[in-house]
Symmetry: C2
């Protein structure tokens, strides 16, 4: 996969997402401006991209996938908007741009996050007109993986883990990574499969594959924080150690971490390659995501 | 309707709502405890009660309505949890109990609100097993009336209206009341009708009826702030004037306000009485809600 191909896919994905953003007009203008600011602020658009690629791998066609792609990016974005709040991570910048509360104000950022989460479901429900028989199942996956038994659960555990009295072991760290990171990747890939009419067995395989991708992605994050350089990573290295944050590397060591990334990655790719119709772009995307150097 | 009948109905409604609350266990325990604290903190349970009564008026039977009743109360509750935050209304007490952020902390309250909003959709989707053909339509109403074109839109306009430079006229005030208050009452009553299989014409009538109930309820609020006594109301009277808050009474005067409540109320009741099968408890409930003295 060359850089240009990925850029092209990212652009196509953004065109779909942006189509579903609400118009900033009427008395709702202040909240919609903040919602759209947050979504337009950039990002890899990884989740909707994975969703579409899995959908196509399973022979899915038509526009039913589009509202779900937009909904997924809205949920990912709202989680960042609320995470960045002063009462949470208190971050003023993200990807070189002011975070939503810093650009507007706290009150607007809280409402914009709520607005995005709610609008995600409103948007996904627009798929109704495509008469896809798996709509409700896809909505169920979206709601479950984004909620307390998915991403919000991971966020809760992460906040608990940051308290001085907490004792984070490998099991707790895996819970956080599985829920905070892997859950939305699972939802994205599972929804792609479900809406394309994949069998229960295949959707289960995709869930496992996405789990591996999410966990490997996070372990690689921990590895890069130790092995990369400020220049390559574009953010300070060694920040986890400085913040006394338990990471996969600090619990299991660098060698085992690297081995586990390889193992998880190999298994994820081999699951993807096991389906009747292969999607080489998707396989390369996953490979590149996990083994990235920044 | 006597007091005991209303108490009985409230108890029945709470039993249904509480059945759908998540168990506070596992790594999610801190957020689930805060979510359940907020829902258990009390309230009139008006929205789910209206939903069930309209459902039954249109001949609805079975359990399909229950997850939607719980979902509606979760959405109403999350909106209070986020409204009370220091960055929003900064309220430490509600109904004599500590608000969620004051009882736990800001971070937990933000997450608990997100958790409730997301879990509302997760809960409503549990109605899937009842095989009701109108499930997706009911979900669409829930999402739309709770979001930026409903309640969140009203909240946005309300915050704008509180800024010193804003000039609130009758039209703007009506927008706020319609979206912030009437929208969830509309959703509740419309979902009851839709899930019972009511016709499009009847659902439209119910939407209009619920609009009247919501607006009349809010105007009555404004009237009581002027005419009631601290003793009857249980909270300081004259607070709107003290806060230089534009109200229906300050814009249109007391007489016109009282007339409009009568007009809206009469029309709402006559819509309810116009359907084939009447629900006398519902008619009395609406009458009592609007013409309450506290």
């Amino acid at each position: 996969m060359n850089k240009k191909q990925l850029e092209e896919k990212t652009k196509q994905t953004e065109e779909i997402i942006f189509k579903y953003l609400p118009k900033a007009e009427g008395a709702q203008k202040p909240v919609i401006e903040a919602m759209n600011y947050s979504v337009l602020a950039g990002g890899k658009r990884l989740r909707p991209m994975l969703m579409k690629e899995v959908f196509e791998m399973f022979g899915g066609t038509g526009e039913v996938i589009e509202p779900f792609m937009a909904a997924m990016e809205m949920i990912h974005t709202y989680s960042l908007v609320h995470d960045d709040l002063p009462a949470m991570d208190n971050d003023e910048y993200r990807r070189g741009k002011k975070t939503t509360w810093a650009q507007f104000d706290e009150c607007t950022a809280i409402l914009a996050g709520d607005g995005l989460l709610n609008f995600a479901f409103e948007t996904a429900l627009k798929a109704e007109k495509e008469n896809n028989p798996y709509l409700v199942r896809a909505l169920g996956i979206l709601a479950n993986k984004a909620g307390i038994y998915g991403m919000i659960g991971g966020q809760t555990a992460d906040i608990e883990a940051e308290k001085p009295e907490s004792d984070v072991d490998g099991e707790k760290l895996l819970f956080i990574h599985e829920h905070k990171t892997a859950a939305l990747i699972q939802a994205s890939m599972m929804i792609g499969a479900v809406l394309a009419g994949a069998s229960k067995v295949d959707v289960d395989k995709i869930e496992k594959c996405a789990y591996n991708i999410g966990i490997a992605f996070q372990i690689q994050d921990d590895i890069l924080d130790v092995t990369s350089t400020l220049e390559v990573l574009g953010k300070p290295i060694g920040s986890d150690e400085k913040n006394h944050k338990k990471t996969y590397v600090s619990i299991y060591g660098l060698e085992r971490s690297k081995d586990d990334v390889k193992k998880l990655s190999k298994e994820a790719i081999s699951i993807l390659a096991s389906f009747g119709q292969r999607n080489l772009f998707l396989e390369e995307l996953v490979e590149q995501l996990i083994n990235r150097e920044k």
